[in-house]
């Protein structure tokens, strides 16, 4: 509980109109895209770094938990205020401060929506590569907190590869600046990498300088369909293994293809057992050559059909349809859990086979979706949260999927983060000393444990 005096001080920092403690607002911050819920005591929308600093000074003094949030689209409960306190929402702090294509960076506020940044950059012929499925909704602050990935991270890398510098408000309210505008910068610890992916447990990013990239001259979107899921998976390992690096390479099994077709209204090969959606980009001649090699590899591995999108719109529609997959899975049952195990690409065929086998054994309604080119698997599990028996089977199956992934040289999460969803499984990939090191870092930066408390660290 936050006492009345602290509440009125917090209210003074941002003003009446950006401070809320009514039941409707509180309820609206009791969830993110994961299945758990927990209500904060108050909701505050800061719009300046000074306001965030002012809020943290009060929170620190009064021991009030602070959980930051952007659009609340993460699927690991990372933005859930499990210990109540303040839900600090950045959606109103959303300006683009500077676009500098000469030096290839942008400076933005954390509440800016990734897709809005892309619109601004596209006008200059540039883009910001990290493209999570929630790209049109999720904020840069959230992307940084979760070290978000996405399909084209296969070629371009993830969020932490693009954060050059940031302004961070520490738990005490102090404001620090880490990094610079230079790609090459070994001046001290690379602290931006510490905050990036820390899920709001170490500090609050209030401004970010991001590296941007020019849009390639040519693009192709290739669709390969298969009668056998194993052939689909083998193609992935074969293409990447041969040295070709597409921008993105998505794998969908039959269940996912059908769900996406239903939700998007697009005509997709519904009877296929597997499908690859591949994007390549670069200079025209290279793209043409790569496309032919990919088509050849796909056919060698048993693809029954390989087609290329003819227009930009067709290509955009295919990718937009792909982004519907998570929500669309809810058409099959009241809810959907999406896993995030990642394995080295050579083990993608084994991982898919094992996942299928586990799902059948536990009689789960599971579909396989994967950023296959970088081994990032997203099994989607449709379920009814009221069916306790099913939930138990999902829990056991998830554990087996994690264990299998780790045994294949993989890791727990590729891009969704740990949050609450996977906290208990951390020992699968980290020994006690490593966990202790994380705890020591947390203690140094947040001695009282008020930043996003109750999560993985």
């Amino acid at each position: 509980m936050i006492n009345e005096e602290s509440k009125s001080q917090l209210k003074q920092v941002v003003g009446e109109e950006r401070f809320f403690d009514d039941p409707e607002e509180i309820l609206s911050f009791s969830y993110d895209a994961f299945i758990l819920t927990s209500e904060p005591d108050v909701v505050i929308y800061p719009i300046t770094t000074e306001e965030v600093s002012g809020i943290m000074k009060i929170a620190d003094r009064e021991n009030i938990p602070v959980t930051c949030r952007g659009s609340g689209t993460n699927i690991s409960a990372a933005s859930l205020p499990v210990k109540k306190g303040i839900a600090l929402c950045f959606t109103k702090m959303n300006r683009v401060i500077e676009v500098n294509t000469q030096d290839r960076y942008v400076i933005v506020e954390p509440g800016l929506i990734n897709g809005e940044l892309q619109k601004v950059l596209a006008q200059e012929g540039f883009f910001y590569p990290p493209d999570p499925g929630s790209i049109n909704v999720s904020t840069i602050g959230g992307n940084i907190a979760q070290n978000a990935g996405g399909p084209r991270c296969l070629k371009y890398g993830v969020t932490s590869d693009y954060v050059l510098a940031m302004e961070v408000v520490l738990v005490s309210g102090k404001i620090v600046r880490v990094g610079s505008r230079n790609v090459k910068d070994v001046t001290g610890y690379k602290l931006s990498s510490l905050f990036c992916g820390s899920e709001g447990t170490l500090g609050i990013v209030t401004e970010a300088t991001l590296r941007v990239v020019s849009i390639a001259e040519s693009h192709r979107t290739i669709l390969a369909t298969y009668d056998d899921l194993e052939d689909t998976a083998n193609t992935v390992a074969d293409i990447i293994g041969s040295g070709i690096l597409p921008a993105a390479m998505e794998l969908m099994d039959k269940t996912v293809i059908n769900v996406v077709a239903d939700a998007s209204g697009m005509s997709l090969p519904r009877e296929a057992a597997g499908m690859l959606l591949i994007e390549i980009d670069g200079v025209e001649e290279a793209v043409e050559k790569e496309m032919n090699r990919i088509a050849e590899k796909a056919r060698d591995n048993g693809a029954r059909d390989v087609t290329v999108a003819h227009t930009q719109k067709e290509s955009d529609d295919l990718w937009a349809a792909r982004r519907l997959a998570y929500g669309a899975f809810a058409r099959l049952a009241p809810n959907c859990i999406v896993e995030d195990v990642t394995v080295p690409v050579s083990n993608v065929p084994k991982m898919i086979k094992a996942t299928r086998e586990i799902a059948d054994r536990y009689k789960l309604h599971l579909g396989i979706l994967a950023h296959a080119g970088d081994g990032n698997m997203h099994p989607l599990i449709a379920h009814d949260p009221n069916d306790k028996d099913e939930l138990k089977r999902i829990e056991q199956a998830a554990k087996e999927i994690f264990e299998t992934g780790v045994s294949l040289g993989g890791t727990l999460s590729g891009e969704h983060g740990i949050g609450l969803a996977k906290a208990e499984f951390l020992p699968l990939v980290m020994n006690q000393d490593t966990l202790d090191l994380m705890a020591d870092i947390k203690k140094t930066l947040d001695p009282k444990g008020i930043l996003n408390p109750g999560k993985f660290v």
Binding site: P23, E24, L27, S71, N94, N136, L324
Partner: protein, 411 residues
């Protein structure tokens, strides 16, 4: 709609930025996902009806974009209307809306009221109105009412000029009848030129959407039943609408509301399949129009605003309208970057939330003006009121209905 539909929402949040209101104010409770979760909490008795809740649910344009784009198939529109209905049940309605709905459900009184307002509009209130606003719109920029209601200007049946192709029923809606008789005249001329006998049933009443979208299901019911009985002929005579919102009501809303009231919806279902938006109808029978177009017409630059109730609720997409526009002689079409975005009018939204509405419409205007076009076509009279009412220079960008543009291109 099944009540358990609400469970379909997996809270993925993809609806957030599709919502024009959320896009402006960036607060979760007013987002479609937030509202769905508030409805769920209210259903679980975890949240009571309050003035705050009423305010939140009034912050919705009923544009249907969230419903249209929801990957999980959640019917936000029905959930929100039902919630509004519950709120009205508990709290009653403010007097201004009560008066409005009273008139909309009593056609003859509406005619009298329109006469009175016109009188006031043109004389006494003129000076006063110059600096007064109705919602986000300056009163002086509000359209003038028709001198005589459109349906009294034309006979009940207008015979075709070309070789007869059949009969269509024309549902004029209140906007054409009382405000934009120019749309009605253009529509009748285009259809009769194409060879259609246009029948304009005199007993038609307001489509009812202004009532039911605010949760007034029972108030709207008598209008729904009257119009359905009038327009659902035993044959499959097409029913033409020139208003995107009326089209939404007749095609989708009537069935939804009657089912919600557990009333017989079979006639409304039959009617639904016969209703055509005028632009859609012309596109589907373009061969009958083509010979009458003046191919020598000088070029005019044109841009388009896609009404939400056309693209979302009637599946008449922007691509269809753009293809139609490209075929009209003299049209030099320029696409605005946000053609498919809502204009922020939203029934009484522009009046209830002028600040939010103003921000939405100003961005639309900026982008449309940026195309350099001199005509802005849109198939919804209410969008027309909102867009033209907020233009700084209405002379340089004139807002008209597509059917007016087509009529101007006739030989």
């Amino acid at each position: 709609m099944d009540v358990n539909d609400i469970d379909k929402c997996v809270k993925c949040g993809l609806c957030l930025t599709s919502c024009p209101v959320y896009y402006e104010i960036c607060r979760e409770p007013v987002s479609p996902r937030g509202k769905v979760q508030l409805v769920a909490a209210s259903n679980r008795q975890n949240l009571s009806i309050s003035r705050n809740l009423e305010n939140i649910f009034s912050q919705c344009l009923m544009c249907g974009t969230c419903t249209q784009n929801c990957p999980s198939g959640v019917r936000h529109d029905m959930l929100f209307m039902r919630m509004r209905s519950q709120i009205v049940h508990d709290f009653g309605r403010d007097w201004k809306k009560r008066v409005l709905y009273h008139f909309l459900s009593h056609e003859h009184q509406l005619q009298l009221a329109a006469g009175f307002v016109k009188f006031g509009r043109n004389t006494i209130l003129e000076k006063l109105a110059r600096d007064t606003k109705l919602g986000n719109i300056q009163i002086k920029n509000m359209p003038r009412l028709n001198k005589v209601p459109f349906r009294q200007q034309v006979p009940g049946v207008v015979e075709p000029e070309a070789k007869p192709r059949g009969t269509v029923l024309y549902f004029t809606g209140c906007a054409t009848n009382y405000v934009y008789d120019d749309i009605g005249r253009a529509l009748v001329r285009v259809l009769t030129t194409m060879g259609y006998r246009v029948e304009i049933p005199g007993e038609q009443v307001c489509c009812g959407l202004p009532m039911f979208s605010q949760g007034g299901f029972e108030t709207a019911k008598s209008n729904i039943l009257k119009n359905t009985k009038l327009l659902d002929r035993p044959d499959d005579t097409a029913v033409i609408v020139d208003c995107a919102t009326c089209g939404y009501a007749l095609r989708k809303g009537y069935v939804d509301i009657l089912e919600e009231l557990q009333a017989d919806s079979s006639a409304a279902r039959r009617l639904s399949s016969k209703v055509k938006d005028i632009s859609e109808f012309i596109w589907q029978h373009f061969d009958k129009l083509e010979p009458f177009l003046d191919q020598e017409k000088p070029k005019t630059t044109v841009t388009y605003h896609a009404p939400c109730h056309l693209r979302n609720s009637q599946a008449v997409g922007t691509d269809l309208i753009e293809q139609l526009l490209e075929k009209i002689p003299g049209v030099d079409y320029i696409r605005a970057p946000d053609t498919d975005a809502c204009c922020g009018g939203g029934g009484t939204f522009f009046y209830d939330h002028p600040d939010i509405s103003k921000k939405i419409v100003d961005r639309k205007i900026k982008n449309a003006t940026g195309t350099g076009a001199s005509l802005w076509v849109t198939g919804c009279p209410e969008c027309r009121v909102n867009l033209s009412g907020n233009l700084k220079n209405p002379e340089s960008l004139q807002v008209i209905h597509p059917v007016q543009l087509i009529e101007q291109s006739l030989k």
